[in-house]
Symmetry: C2
Subunit: 471 residues, 2 copies
């Protein structure tokens, strides 16, 4: 077995890439992947391979990998499962360093596929090659430009540069969330689809991301950890959690879900009880659903950690203040009592109808100025560690300069500010502007509070661990 | 007290409307409301009232309500709290039938405001006038064109005609959800903001909606039911639930939340234990959050009721199949085993890699045709009462003709089909097209399963009540 600490950098920063199975049919995976490489910002030689054709998209097409003149760092195999073993052998001869196997039809379909996987791994191990896949959509790196996602960009948007890394066992899950992230203006650092994880698995990916400078938090969708790797996994997430928050969504936490996962990625799940204990000990944050995974990653990428558990709510919509309070209490979180000084200073400046307490209801006619007064006073309150700012825009006088107010407050007071807002086109425009400014926004009290809870949980974990290096 | 059974039709279908407090300042509530009436499709006389000005937007402006030549059915008071009592008296002289009081500053600010409310109610009751408000954004009816929402339409979108009625105690909450609904292509039948509910309250609104033909389901945001009305409320929701599903989000279900609600709409909440029992006995569906309220209403407005609890999942994304299974099991729902016949017929037609079970994983390369085969076979299965159709579009060959397939299947097989899909621009376009076709879609397994659970809960309630008349 290759050292688990081997670097995966040939996947993300290759000097030369061959795409095998580049068809003239523009819908075929090989064609899309090759075209995306051509259009990308990657500084590398790109070679198409297909024995049937001479030229593709104006480039010479090679009959085989061995025909390629120079060295090849990375090979993307966009061909059916039955051809894979032979091509991996050819890669070995060419001294290729990394292979991405897109095709399914391996361990997840039964013993025959499992044997095929073992044969492939043997060749790779003996020849010091690393493999991502099979049964994957591969990787995406907005920094280097590597993009092996086999759907065209009009159909699957690519997120901009950001600092959330994303490891997904399921390719479809991964691509849907990337597409969604891009549409929400949320950036990522690296995406790795590990699929059947024949060689490169969650552990390798985590170790690579541990030292990746662009990555400040890691989100993962996993269906199973192989039993033999359990201990390694535990040690690694425990170590990395101290530097970068890890948010994990585990598919197959019920018996029926596990059964479904077995036929999907061939994973055998650990029992949920063991996992829960692992999460607690390691500081890993468990997401309950696809959107929650995304929400929790966003909140870590955008804000600083709170220094305590004191939460304050400022709102222009009483109803959302009430609902957010309900959600906080149900989740075991609590609202702080504001300091007398804060209350007195605000009572002088605010209209009579404003409720100066926590939640603070600035009422429907609040404008940007009233928000500024309230936000600065509440953030300056020594009892307050985090502010949930509810701004319903459709019924308000608030304009886009609220973003400057929030940015100023964030910079000057060093406490996290989380926004709740929901509405139509006007609101959506403001949400994108806030995301651009790394102000995390959520559409409803529940999603806000779920994400805030993750933030406080991690901050609490860091508080208890002296060796925590986050921020 | 006026009979609780009095009709509210003068609010939704007035022949003549006066807006009092129409300012030349285009941002003031009175101006916006008057302008929206002028631009609406409402067939009614519209009179602006303001003693200071002669003309507004090309129309003669009246000095007072009594100056208006003809009769006035509905008056919208867009003026400060201190002027309201005098104007209500003037309305009485003019024999106005309905008044909407926009201003806040009444019961929610203390005893003085409470006394003012009592004086106003006395005048209204003695003169057979009905009042909506105070502390409201009023009403919206896309069928008649009545629109007293005081924010311009570029800022607060108005939903199209639909069959979900929406009662909200909080105006800001209501307007944000209307704006959001409009942006998602979801229609509504009537919107009523009841605010302090001095006269027209949730009970009156429900009774009006009970007989409203455009309304097939009712969603409500309430912070409190006054104790003296508890019994009436119980009887009415019990009766209406048999004909139209009622989905209720209760603000203030925790002690701290109740405290916040008291300063917001002056409501005193019933204890949550009593409410839970009431929900169970009456068939009212309890939502846990703002988005869930919206989701549950959508699922009832779009689909037929399932005839049993047999759920099947069809997916092109294994991970989402696993996560949806987990959510169903956690919520106490269950996947059925497919009939042998269904399995055998599909095994003949499907590629080997497709998992013919429940969940059924059509795998990433599934196209519309494969979905059609699977959907028709699964819907025809006698064990299946409802299908959750997961279509991750960004990594697929599925095109917009999937909508025709779903529509055909819905019409021909008479079983509900609920879609889960998440992604970027391409997906969002498809989601809007599906909503146009009354196919309810949700972005993630949890929201799908929460809504499905509500549907099955109500269908179960109807099953047990012979007198249920829904559909």
């Amino acid at each position: 077995m290759i050292s688990k600490h081997a670097d995966l950098d040939m996947f993300f920063n290759p000097k030369s890439v061959a795409v095998v199975g580049v068809s003239r049919n523009t819908r075929k995976f090989g064609h899309v992947i090759f075209k995306n490489f051509l259009e990308s910002s990657l500084r590398a030689e790109i070679y198409p391979v297909n024995p049937q054709i001479d030229k593709i998209l104006g480039r010479r097409c090679y009959k085989s990998i061995s025909d390629i003149p120079g060295p090849v760092d990375l090979v993307v195999l966009a061909i059916a499962n039955t051809y894979v073993l032979d091509l991996v052998k050819e890669c070995a001869q060419k001294k290729v360093r990394g292979i991405i196997i897109i095709a399914g039809g391996f361990a997840e379909i039964g013993p025959q596929g499992k044997r095929l996987e073992e044969d492939i791994l043997k060749v790779a191990t003996e020849n010091n090659m690393r493999i991502i896949g099979p049964n994957v959509i591969g990787i995406y790196d907005p920094y280097s430009g590597v993009d092996t996602l086999f759907l065209p960009r009009y159909r699957l948007l690519r997120p901009k540069k950001g600092n959330i890394a994303f490891i997904s066992q399921s390719g479809a899950f991964g691509s849907a969330l990337l597409d969604f992230a891009a549409s929400q203006g949320v950036g990522i650092s690296k995406f790795i689809s590990i699929g059947n994880a024949l060689d490169v698995d969650a552990i390798d990916s985590l170790e690579y991301l541990e030292h990746n400078e662009e990555t400040t938090c890691i989100m993962m969708y996993l269906e199973g950890i192989k039993a033999k790797e359990g201990r390694d996994f535990y040690e690694i997430i425990k170590r990395i959690s101290l530097r970068k928050p890890i948010i994990l969504l585990k598919g197959g936490i019920t018996q029926q879900g596990q059964k479904a996962a077995a036929s999907h990625t061939g994973s055998i799940s650990s029992t949920i009880e063991i996992l829960q204990a692992v999460f607690k000990q390691t500081g890993v944050i468990q997401a309950d659903d696809a959107l929650q995974l995304f929400d929790m990653a966003r909140i870590f990428s955008g804000v600083i950690l709170p220094k305590g558990k004191g939460i304050a709510i400022i709102t222009n919509a009483g109803g959302f203040g009430v609902l957010t309070t309900d959600q906080l209490i149900k989740q075991g979180l609590n609202l702080v009592s504001l300091d007398e000084k804060t209350i007195n200073s605000l009572k002088e400046k605010m209209p009579e109808a404003v409720t100066i307490s926590n939640p603070m209801d600035l009422i429907g006619d609040a404008d940007t100025e009233r928000y500024q007064l309230a936000l600065n006073a509440v953030l300056a309150d020594p009892h307050v560690d985090l502010v949930i700012l509810i701004i319903l825009l459709s019924l308000s006088y608030v304009e886009s300069d609220i973003i400057d107010i929030i940015n100023d407050a964030k910079v000057n007071q060093g406490k996290p500010i989380i926004v709740t807002t929901i509405g139509g086109d006007f609101t959506q425009m403001m949400v994108r502007m806030m995301e651009e400014n790394q102000i995390p926004t959520f559409p409803n009290p529940k999603r806000t509070v779920d994400a805030v809870k993750a933030l406080i949980q991690y901050s609490d974990f860091c508080e208890r661990k002296e060796e925590c290096e986050f921020q």
